[in-house]
Amino acid sequence: MARHHVRATVNGDAVEFLCETGQTLLEALRDELRLTGTKEGCGTGDCGACSVMLDGRLVCSCLVLGVEAEGRSIETIEGMAVGEALHPLQQKFLEHAALQCGICTPGILIAARALLERNPDPTEAEVRDGLAGNLCRCTGYHKIVEAVLAAAREMRGA
């Protein structure tokens, strides 16, 4: 089988992995690099559980081939906390109980961080719009939105 030797940057570290043409970036992250924080939900780009940043752009890693990651920079949930220090979004998700089963959480955190980088002071509607590509099937969205708004306030120092 065609095995591709891919070199990329993941959370700031240079990585190399082998993948087959049909393997997705999600599969490469989880199965080859053992970064299992990124979750598979639907596998068809509808639920956002597999959200990562690819060259600074929010994408579903299930809709990217592993081989397309050659030379690219990827950010996953594993790079969000700094050592033991949680990102403010992660901290607020805990404080607001903005998760239950947790499968959607890594993708929502990545999408929420991307939103706050573009818009540090979003309205509730803007938060809902920014997370429209991320489905949660247990918590409901209210606590998630509250947690994102609280993190935004803290990050602005307001």
Binding site: M1, A2, H4, E20, T21, G22, T24, G43, T44, G45, D46, G48, S51, L54, R57, L58, V59, C60, C62, L63, V64, L65, V67, E68, E70, A111, A114, D129, G130, A132, G133, N134
Partner: protein, 291 residues
């Protein structure tokens, strides 16, 4: 199943040579947001993927001669974030904004939305209304084709073997022009159009419509240009009587399917409603766009 090959050529000539020389089924890979799902479900089993994103000119948004050239590999988000393009062609951007989630638009391309050939593709009626032309390159050279002629039916295009849509050309924009695209869906995000309507019009200094193009999506086997609907607007102030004729002409052009997302009767009625609302937005934009 034979081995799946992946190539990422750096020039258009190499891409065309790979596609036209392929022994088995070959597919262009741009954003991949439709292709990867079709591969995963087994609907298609290509033997060669030609990733066109490494060809520099396919990733460019270029203003020139009063118009715009959008490379086929430009993503939805790149187009949405291009302030001048969005100012000139807000209706095209309306359509692109409705394609999937932010995540999907971070990868999905306008060229791919066209070539995937879904009758419900949101950017396609907007591009047809805009008068966009597809530039196509293949083994026998380059040609141009109006966007409304590229899709011939669900999942089917008029592209020959080895041909690639390389860019979409948007024409120069006269003063007092405006465009808009609206769709009906049961929910506001992450849905597939039950009816889509794109309207593009130009007014004279007195507010009379001098040029118009109207396109409908999801009401036939492909997105339709509806000249009779445009004729209902031309020569009018886009008043209530003109809108009534517009709605009737739009309904007459539809031959919708009857499915769980919308009955035939519902799609027919909704086509008339959506096209009038889109015309209203295009009219407001044209009035504001007076230089």
């Amino acid at each position: 199943m034979s081995e799946l090959r992946y190539e990422a050529p750096k020039t258009l000539a190499e891409a065309v040579a790979l596609l036209s020389g392929a022994k088995g089924r070959a597919r262009v890979l741009a954003g991949g947001t439709d292709l990867l799902i079709q591969m995963r479900t087994g609907r298609i089993q290509p033997e060669l993927l030609v990733d066109i994103k490494a060809v520099p000119e396919l990733g460019e948004i270029v203003a020139g001669n009063g118009g715009y050239r959008i490379g086929a590999a430009v993503t939805g988000m790149q187009l949405i974030e291009h302030a001048d393009f969005a100012k000139r062609w807000p209706g095209v951007v309306d359509g692109v904004r409705l394609i999937g989630s932010l995540q999907v638009k971070g990868r999905a391309t306008v060229g791919g939305n066209l070539c995937n050939a879904s009758p419900a593709a949101d950017s396609v009626p907007a591009l047809i209304a805009a008068g966009a032309v597809a530039r196509i390159v293949g083994p026998h050279g380059a040609r141009e084709a109006a966007v409304e002629t590229v899709v011939v039916g669900p999942g089917k295009t008029s592209l020959a073997v080895g041909e690639i849509v390389t860019s979409l050309l948007l024409p120069p924009r006269p003063l007092r022009s405006g465009d808009a695209y609206l769709r009906f869906t049961p929910r506001s995000e992450m849905d597939i159009a039950v009816v889509g309507a794109g309207v593009n019009l130009t007014l004279d200094a007195q507010g009379i419509c001098t040029q118009a193009r109207v396109a409908l999506g999801a009401v036939a086997s492909r997105a339709l240009l509806v000249p009779a609907a445009a004729a209902a607007l031309i020569g009018t102030k886009v008043d209530a009587a003109a809108l009534a004729r517009l709605a009737a002409a739009a309904r007459d052009a539809c031959s919708p399917i009857d499915d769980k997302r919308g009955s035939r009767e519902f799609r027919l009625r909704t086509a008339g409603v959506m096209v009038c609302r889109a015309a209203g937005i295009a009219l407001e934009r044209a009035r504001r766009n007076d230089g």
